[in-house]
């Protein structure tokens, strides 16, 4: 399948000499949700801006739907909707006029019915005549999304879409993103909320210091890097791990009151039964047992630290 976005050897060096993007290569598949994770200043927004034409890449090539973003900018930009990180709005415009303006700017014939549908889908219909200055931060964020969707884009960029919004609105947005994907829209989002990527992304890219250090299918990533642990709360503390248990990958914690067994979930034999058997033989009693699996956040933090 031809990628909807192809980024090849892209570099961006700003006038002051700061290298924001360092040899980025990335393919985005049609109708996928791709989450770009990275610490502040990693280059997420610069990468999005380069694809959308807001900043010029210093070198390399970006194609959208098979067309170069410089020579074929009319086609490529008409396919893209962008929700920027900042709530940049025309304070004195009404919701209706600002969203209609965006549709026209992107070369689409006026279509009040479509604008109405978009505003209703974002629970903005009753605010259509309100000036932007009168809206709350969450409402402004919805308007930014409505503006980006106003020209029916095939690709939607969401730069920190749920920053500063409440839990309910965040969940509404996740639902909207899923619905858009089901309608065939490709979605690329940057986020600081790992749970957001974990919840909705199909693939994940991690960027740090302008370098794309990892691109992986989310589930594969979690299976590949995710460790699972069996945690046993002991009745009596242990001073050290008994000799008959040294073959197991065990750690003692909480002043000897917790025994932690780390294992690989993909192995056919996890060793749990054998461990429990050996504990019984060694007369080590426990009062509780639980398991813990590393989250995407743990994986992200470990990856970013590793590459530092």
């Amino acid at each position: 399948m031809q990628p909807i976005i192809q980024i090849t050897d892209v570099n961006k060096v700003y006038a002051g000499g700061f290298q924001a993007l360092n040899n980025i290569n990335l393919s985005i598949k049609p109708a996928e949700i791709f989450a770009l994770l990275g610490p502040n200043g990693a280059g997420k927004t610069t990468l999005i801006s380069a694809i959308c034409g807001i900043v010029d890449a210093t070198s390399g090539q970006i194609t959208v739907d098979g067309k170069d973003i410089v020579t074929g900018y009319r086609h490529t930009r008409s396919l893209i909707g962008l929700v920027p990180q900042e709530l940049t709005t025309d304070a004195f415009e009404t919701v209706w006029t600002t969203v209609s303006f965006s549709r026209g700017l992107f070369g689409k014939k006026p279509n009040p019915a479509f604008i109405e549908k978009t505003l209703k889908s974002l629970s903005l219909w009753d605010k259509k005549d309100n000036k932007m200055i009168e809206l709350s931060g969450g409402m402004k964020r919805r308007v930014m999304i409505a503006k980006a969707l106003s020209h029916e884009p095939a690709i939607l960029f969401l730069d920190e879409p749920t920053a500063g919004v409440d839990v309910e609105l965040r969940k509404d947005m996740w639902q909207l993103v899923r619905e858009l994907r089901n309608d065939g829209v490709t979605i690329i989002l940057t986020t600081h909320y790992i749970e957001e990527a974990e919840e909705i992304a199909d693939r994940i890219g991690v960027i740090k210091n302008g370098q794309l250090i990892l691109v992986e299918d989310k589930i594969a990533l979690m299976n590949q890097l995710g460790k699972k642990q069996l945690i046993l709360d002991l009745k009596e503390p242990l001073i050290e791990i008994p000799a008959q248990l040294t073959d197991f990958n065990l750690q003692l914690q909480n002043e000897g009151m917790q025994l932690i067994y780390s294992y690989d979930t993909t192995d056919e034999h996890t060793g749990i039964s054998a461990l429990l058997q050996q504990l019984s033989v060694a007369a080590i009693a426990f009062k509780d047992i639980k398991t813990d699996q590393s989250s995407l956040e743990d994986i992200f933090v470990s990856l970013v630290r590793e590459k530092t």
Binding site: Y14, A15, C52, G53, I54, V55, D56, Y73, R74, H75, T76, R77, S78, I80, L82, P84, E86, T88, T89, D90, A91, F92, T97, S100, F101, S102, R103, G104, L105, F106, G107, K108, K109, P110, K147
Partner: protein, 253 residues
């Protein structure tokens, strides 16, 4: 041609005029009326005629030019500076629009607004002085060309400015003095020889002269000279705007 984008920018800018009607229309009309009262009535009672034209009527083309120039610059510079200031320029930069289409929208709207204002001032002037327009075609030609040229100039200022002070500095310390010293309220022949020579270096002097000729067939320089100076300034603005869009100066990083 992305005509929907041009229309969107144009309508957006025109709508801004409606919201700021006092600043855009009423305030310049009041200022110009005050000029008529102060200069036309007070001074006009002492200077009865210049080149056979009553003083009140003589200053009308200059006053129209004063508003046309300042409003063209102000409309276009604010139009493009505001998206930069608020950050909404991201939308313009990521839209499938060419530089020419962006110019057409912003400069077209700025020129339209200042032409409308000039026509309103012309109508207002009728209440104060009897007016004749000897060459209506040339009057409209100068009006439209000046509005376009100075809207382009305003667009350049709006791109160049990175704060509100810079946005105001050129209109206040360059344009206004040039208009006042360009023969708005007098004929250059009334000045001492030294100042007559200095005036030759003021481009606005040629615009006012040409525009006044279209009303009363009196001018300090020939129509051709006025036309050439205006065309030269228009060409300079077009070249500057072309360079701005090619280099991304103050727009793209």
């Amino acid at each position: 041609m992305n005509r929907y984008a041009v229309a969107a920018i144009y309508k957006f800018e025109m709508a801004r005029t409606k919201r700021t009607i006092f600043q855009s229309i009423i305030s310049p009309v009041i200022s110009t009326s005050l000029y008529f009262v102060v200069f036309g009535s007070a001074i006009g009672s002492r200077i009865t005629e210049i080149d056979g034209v009553s003083y009140g009527a003589f200053i009308v083309p200059g006053l129209i030019m004063l508003s046309l120039l300042t409003q063209s610059i102000s409309n276009a510079s604010f139009g493009i500076y505001f998206p930069k200031f608020t950050g909404t320029i991201y939308e313009l930069l990521s839209a499938p629009v060419s530089s020419f289409e962006v110019l057409l929208g912003y400069v077209g709207a700025a020129a339209t607004k200042s032409i409308l204002l000039a026509l309103i001032i012309l109508a207002t002037a009728h209440f104060f002085v009897p007016l004749e327009i000897a060459h209506p075609f040339w009057m409209l030609f100068f009006l439209v060309m000046t509005a376009i040229t100075f809207s382009l100039f305003g667009f350049i200022i709006g791109i160049w400015a990175d704060n509100f002070e810079k946005l105001q500095v050129i209109p206040l310390i360059v344009i206004t003095p040039l208009v006042f010293l360009g023969g708005t309220f007098y004929s250059v022949s009334m000045l001492p020889p030294f100042w007559q020579t200095v005036t030759q270096f003021n481009p606005v002097f040629y615009l006012i002269s040409g525009f006044r000729w279209s009303f009363y067939e009196v001018a300090d320089v020939s129509l051709l000279t006025s036309f050439c100076v205006m065309s030269g300034f228009l060409a300079f603005c077009l070249l500057a705007v072309t360079w701005i869009f090619k280099s991304g100066y103050q727009i793209k990083q």
